[in-house]
Symmetry: C2
Subunit: 453 residues, 2 copies
Amino acid sequence: MTDAALAARLTEITGGPTTPGPDDGHDECLTVAGREPAHVVRPETAEQVAAVLKAASEAGTPVTARGSGTGLSGAAVPSPGGIVVSFERMNAVLEIDTDNHVAVVQPGVTLQELDARTAEHGLVYPVYPGELSASLGGNIATNAGGMRAVKHGVTRHHVLGLQAALPTGELIRTGGKFAKASTGYDLTQLIVGSEGTLALVTEAVLKLQPRVAHQATVLAPFAGLPEVTRAVPRVVGSGLQPQVLEYIDGMTMAAITHTADLQLGIPDAVRESAQAYLVVVLDGRTQERLDEDVEAVAQLLSELGAVDAYVLPAGSARKLIEARERAFYTAKAAGADDIIDTVIPRAALPEFMTRVTAIAQAHQTFVIGCGHAGDGNVHLAVFQKDTATRSTVLHELFAAAMALGGAISGEHGIGHAKREHFLALEDPAKVELMRRLKQAFDPAGVLNPGVLL
Amino acid sequence: MTDAALAARLTEITGGPTTPGPDDGHDECLTVAGREPAHVVRPETAEQVAAVLKAASEAGTPVTARGSGTGLSGAAVPSPGGIVVSFERMNAVLEIDTDNHVAVVQPGVTLQELDARTAEHGLVYPVYPGELSASLGGNIATNAGGMRAVKHGVTRHHVLGLQAALPTGELIRTGGKFAKASTGYDLTQLIVGSEGTLALVTEAVLKLQPRVAHQATVLAPFAGLPEVTRAVPRVVGSGLQPQVLEYIDGMTMAAITHTADLQLGIPDAVRESAQAYLVVVLDGRTQERLDEDVEAVAQLLSELGAVDAYVLPAGSARKLIEARERAFYTAKAAGADDIIDTVIPRAALPEFMTRVTAIAQAHQTFVIGCGHAGDGNVHLAVFQKDTATRSTVLHELFAAAMALGGAISGEHGIGHAKREHFLALEDPAKVELMRRLKQAFDPAGVLNPGVLL
Ligand SMILES: Cc1cc2nc3c(=O)[nH]c(=O)nc-3n(C[C@H](O)[C@H](O)[C@H](O)COP(=O)(O)OP(=O)(O)OC[C@H]3O[C@@H](n4cnc5c(N)ncnc54)[C@H](O)[C@@H]3O)c2cc1C
Ligand SMILES: Cc1cc2nc3c(=O)[nH]c(=O)nc-3n(C[C@H](O)[C@H](O)[C@H](O)COP(=O)(O)OP(=O)(O)OC[C@H]3O[C@@H](n4cnc5c(N)ncnc54)[C@H](O)[C@@H]3O)c2cc1C
């Protein structure tokens, strides 16, 4: 099929033009350059998505899904000559089911919109990745995490069912408004986290829960990172069930509070001696229980070596969390050359950070960070202009994480950005198996080629 | 390869005889007859399992894994002339990691053993299917559920990683001691619930949590099943987070309390008018909080139409839960011809039960039950001697569940028992996709043929 014929076919299917706009070919990844696709479709129905995939499979033309383009691994950057399927028009919250506690959404709905809609019913979708303009489709494709994962789990744990368009042109429904089944292979979980390489999500059934009314944020400065990382398993182990358990190193804290013009009310002397911070957010069904738990956590933190523990006023707490969510932009503005998010068993944090320091020093690279400490998900900003050296540093960091029983990415995905490292470091038997699974979904190989595999 | 040559090869790999014992070829399924396998191996290492699979793939001989044989779908019944891989010797708890809150176990470990080991550390593996002699390998293969799923989720939600032997002979490791990753397809979740048809589990990393000290059981009689089923979403929606939320119909309650010789201390008048019961178990970090929550739930239940609400003494509570777990044997002893466990959205319970009654009446079949109401997972005992009629009844029950957005099995699996219904009722596009996934794992088609697909 010629390019013009394909464009005509796509227009026939979706009823719209296929000319790319300026924003259709990139995401927020620092290392993968955007690329203008040959065609962009903006479907309005699942059937249109399926028909586009069928046409693309027949034409052998690559297809890349696009949510909000906030991804950090280049997974939304299309292939040369490819089609982008942009989900901006499939952005309806189809249902908030207050009896079954689920939301049914189209993939283009943003986290922000969903949060507003669930709030009306006293419910919440408790997955809060840092970027609330991200789409649910993108969240599902990357298995997005975020700060509350330590208590509530990640996207995967809240996707109960999907409607998905297969590259072969069928629409299937997986799972449903229930939390358990033993009826065939779990296609839902296979599609979650597959970075748009297996199927395109056209609808999702998401698990909601009652919104908890009371919340408090405790900030604990520590002398150094080792002290923080050693405290983490103990806080998780306490049974206090923190909703957020973030570590922020001294440099990153300085940068994000400066950028956000944030006063934390910490005495200068403490601030100057603190090389690392732990942020603990607790929630409770009643204010009374919350107060008890805050007291208990403050007590625990001081036993674990915190210099002090401050309960932040609601305004500063919100600002701090927001500033932490924007840490990516702070690092980017400071000239970071890459941001990675390795995951390790949380008790391996001290050892991992020791290795990170050694790797950084050996290659004269500047590495700072913060992270979802409760999950062992460490976000590192890597400052190293030289591409080859940076690649070596990344390879060593990923290898160190894997040697400690971790994985390359906790929540951002592999995409184009980390594919080479993934293929170099992952067990070849697993990579081959994944290729066969990919082939089972996508015999023509049109869905996001070059991403992940 | 001749049978004798294969036997010799298997002995060479595992160092033991391959003669079947009397218990190697059946499970607890009421409708699938046991069958003696041609060979049984009792491997001691993952490498032996992988080598057995390689040999079986080369010989084209079917392989069926066996845990404790407590399954309810015939999935552990081997193929004619097949090999059974019994995991009884791979029964070590390899590690209780108190920092990362995980257990690493071999597949032959039973739930009972794991519970004893985690208790020593104040931790718990919070998945409690009714049969504690079941193995973790079997639990993983069936995605076992149980009563506490309403709060804690099912097996799937607690398996963080696996070591698995592929039919092609490789050993792979998936996931790890972390709760999140976005690093390739989630092979862990694909293997969970696959009923021994994709890979054999040789090790599992399981998520643990702090054991909660305080627990209370509330029993609420209701006038009828519709009242109970309508109450369920409200109890879940209360935010009180019940650990158990079971419904038991009047007949089943009579049978299990009679069998267990259990006095619940409910006045005769109430007992005679109650056609259905709700059992609510709550837990709490402190006795004080638990007492508050018990009060709140009793209040809520009475608002929702319960005749009364009894806080059971610890002894009776334990006995009631145990009797409920043994409900399968009670039904079996009463002459039940099949037991099924459809799952539906929990708010569809009243409508589903109405349809169940209509289907039962139309086919002069006796159907009673109990179930994990909070999950919409309904266990029904079907009394119908005529095989053809029973098959029609089952087909209609499954179709009714699916029409309400549910699935055939919530936790027992499809196995041999429900395969025909699964293939008849499931979307052909999904079945075909599952066949291609099966092919990707098991090109020789040796793993548990005739189960599921
Ligand atoms: C400031 C900032 C903070 C962030 N914080 C976090 C964080 O805390 N945790 C976290 O996990 N991530 C975080 N991210 C990363 C990003 O927000 C997530 O990866 C998010 O899931 C991407 O969603 P999106 O809609 O922007 O997807 P896109 O970038 O548009 O696409 C991401 C991937 O999803 C695929 N995709 C999109 N829609 C579909 C669909 N319908 N079907 C199939 N595939 C589809 C794309 O092809 C691509 O592979 C952050 C990003 C920024 C910029
Ligand atoms: C009284 C009673 C109550 C029950 N209550 C519940 C309940 O509440 N919830 C629930 O979910 N189930 C329940 N069950 C069913 C049963 O206990 C579960 O299905 C359990 O998971 C089976 O474990 P098993 O070790 O006995 O597996 P088996 O019966 O031996 O095998 C089950 C399946 O697992 C496969 N398998 C076993 N080991 C492995 C391995 N290492 N790798 C790959 N595949 C393997 C087998 O091939 C088979 O397909 C109950 C059963 C009884 C008898």
